[in-house]
């Protein structure tokens, strides 16, 4: 009986070690790319998707071609940063994402799903006057 118990403990130990062995498990993810950290609580709907899919071009800071293009186009008449705008419509945002504009290409549903696009559109219109 004691021996069986010992065997069981060893077997359990092996099992636990075996489970822990893979250094990094393959992590299934939804389509996304980001250089942002994982979102903290309280961020508005669509913030994460906007950060993941749009901020590389439309974010703040150096080397953001979308922001630079909008600055050149509007010359400060409206904010060059998309997430500071208060005049965009959800339909317009979706049109640009699904049709492209200027050098901004089309984004497919495997890159930005309809659900993610809804969230991004909600995020970019969150400050619109009602």
């Amino acid at each position: 009986m004691k021996k069986l118990g010992a065997y069981l403990v060893v077997a359990l130990a092996f099992f636990l070690v075996a489970k822990a062995l893979p250094a990094q498990e393959a992590v299934p993810r939804s389509s996304s790319w980001t250089t942002a950290t994982t979102p903290s609580q309280g961020e508005p709907r669509g913030y994460v998707q906007y950060t993941n899919y749009c901020s590389m071009c439309h974010g703040e800071g150096v080397g953001k071609p979308g922001t630079l293009a909008l600055q050149a186009k509007y010359k400060g008449a409206v904010p060059a940063l998309l997430d500071k705008r208060t005049d965009l419509t959800q339909a317009l945002i979706k049109t640009y994402v699904r049709n492209g504009i200027s050098i901004m290409p089309i984004f497919r549903k495997t890159e930005i799903s309809d659900a993610d696009l809804d969230a991004i559109a909600a995020y970019l219109t969150r400050n619109n006057k009602q």
Partner: protein, 525 residues
């Protein structure tokens, strides 16, 4: 609904139903609205009948689903076109070469399977982007670098299979891959290199395995669907240093390139840089006049007066702080054979960069950080671009010859100095130069037609001089494949032999790099 060429509507409908059964309806795109998302956003055929538009798209999420896709495609002889992240803009984007193909969209296969920072490698699926892989590495705190190309939204797998390049010492992306997994047209799954030996832990450490090394046949080709790929990663270096070498005479180019080639091929310089003539830039009207009609002596005098170099190259060094300083010192010694040569110390960094430094670096790509800052280049009316990219010998003679020959083509066909005044000669790949000419694309049929004509003339002129392109847009793959014609196109005949063996029904990427399935070959002849 569009139907693929050579497929009956009833067969196509049956195939679609089977695609849906295998993947779920959600991942089979047949509506015009959904399929139009797969158009090439930078198509040189925008608004024209010739623009190749898919008939449908399917998005599997795993090797078994990919196997199911090729089996169904074989049953009904459906032409597929594989994309990874589908961001191959400038070379065809997410659109097929053959209109009516079904796009096999692997974006959903976006798992980073492993990153190892002791032996410095990664194993990824095709839908992983450079941004994804970078984020994974940052989150896990691993001390390895990736090597992104200019835009970071592409796929390490897709880019390496296209034989693209980056800027760090790991810049030759195909060369730095190690091991792949491929689904063949018959549905079989093959792992190459050490992956063919069960339980090997060296799949991403030793490239060649045993017997014929087949990895190359899956690059720039249509012989299989790559579902996993390993990459060697650069251990995070201690330091980076750059220094610029400047020469004052036109004829100094020969020695400049000779010394550069020596430093590159001996490993003193291991990364990507460009040899430029600062006189090709600038808005000074005097300079513009001299460029158009001045002599070499005039330009040399101008350069001397204005204290600018005639030619210059910035050398990037990566490694330990002591070693990079010594490498730059050695480089200066070697370049000192050129009378009047001048040097300027450039940026230097220690890694990792802190947030303050990162905020100031407009182009972080040479430090292994993916970005889209490359899109800040290009005019306001540009709606895209494509690239003409011939390989020329790494000699001053070839640089001057190519500049003169291509300028002549532009003058003849577009009445201008060239699409861009600069002459971009790069060391993306060891030992040869690659020229990367930028062609703007606009949604203007006439302009695009003219640019296509210029492009085709450049291809032909290149071939006459022994220069061939390393990669191209789907629109020109046939033209460039024709140029590699040694021994009555023996290389293409070899490719076709392999195509017929590996994909007899021609379901994979018909026409890619001039390789057509047997059934379509007679029609193309």
């Amino acid at each position: 609904m569009r139907v693929p060429p050579g497929v009956s509507p009833s067969d196509f409908a049956a195939a679609i139903k089977q695609f849906e059964d295998a993947l779920g309806k959600e991942w089979v795109f047949t509506s015009e609205e959904d399929v139009d998302l797969y158009r090439d956003s930078y198509s040189p055929f925008w608004h024209e009948q010739e623009e190749p538009i898919p008939s449908a798209a399917v998005a599997p999420d795993g090797v078994e689903q990919v196997q199911a896709m090729v089996k169904i495609a074989n049953r009904y002889k459906i032409p597929l076109w594989t994309i990874s992240t589908g961001k191959n803009l400038g070379y065809g984007g997410s659109a097929p070469l053959l209109g009516g193909s079904v796009v096999l969209d692997l974006k959903r296969m976006n798992r980073v399977l492993e990153v190892n920072d002791k032996n410095h490698y990664a194993l990824v699926e095709p839908g992983v982007s450079y941004f994804d892989l970078y984020q994974h590495i940052q989150e896990k705190g691993l001390k390895v670098w990736i090597d992104p190309p200019d835009p970071g939204w592409g796929s390490p797998v897709g880019n390496a299979l296209e034989r693209g390049g980056g800027y760090t010492p790991m810049r030759d992306h195909f060369d730095c891959h190690c091991g792949m997994e491929v689904v063949l047209a018959n549905g079989d799954v093959v792992r190459t290199g050490m992956g063919a030996l069960p339980n090997a832990k060296t799949w991403q450490q030793y490239k060649y395995g045993f017997g014929p090394y087949v990895d190359g046949i899956f690059s720039q080709s249509n012989f299989g669907v790559v579902t996993k790929m390993g990459f060697w990663l650069f251990p995070q270096p201690e330091a980076f240093l750059s220094g610029t070498v400047m020469v004052s005479k036109h004829a100094d180019l020969f020695a400049l390139v000779e010394v550069f080639a020596n430093l590159l091929n001996s490993g003193t310089v291991q990364a990507t840089t460009t040899v430029v003539s600062p006189l090709a830039f600038g808005r000074d009207p005097e300079l513009a006049t001299l460029r158009a009609s001045g002599s070499t002596k005039d330009l040399e005098d101008y350069a001397a007066r204005k204290n600018v170099a005639y030619w210059s190259v910035s050398l990037p060094f990566y490694g330990s702080a002591k070693v990079v300083a010594a490498q730059w010192e050695y480089a200066r010694e070697k370049f000192s054979v050129i009378p009047g040569v001048r040097f300027q110390d450039g940026a230097s960094y220690r890694f990792p960069l802190d947030a303050e430094q990162l905020a100031k670096i407009t182009n972080p790509v040479p430090f292994g950080i993916p970005s889209l800052q490359t899109f800040t280049v290009g005019g306001p009316r540009s709606q895209g671009h494509m690239w003409f990219s011939p390989i020329i010998p790494m000699t001053g003679e070839s640089v001057l010859e190519a500049q003169q020959v291509f300028d002549q083509v532009f003058k003849e066909l577009s009445g201008s100095e060239g699409v861009t005044a600069s002459f971009p000669v790069w060391s993306f790949f060891a030992r040869a130069f690659v020229i990367i000419y930028f062609f703007p694309i606009e949604h203007d049929v006439e302009k695009n037609r003219r640019n296509r004509e210029i492009f085709r003339r450049l291809i032909k002129t290149s071939a006459e001089r022994g220069w061939g392109e390393y990669r191209t847009h789907t629109a020109f793959m046939g033209d460039i494949s024709d140029a590699y014609s040694f021994n009555d196109h023996a290389l293409r005949r070899l490719h076709e032999t392999m195509k017929d063996a590996l994909d007899p029904n021609g379901i994979l990427a018909a026409g890619k790099c001039g390789i057509w399935p047997k059934a379509m070959r007679k029609a193309k002849a």
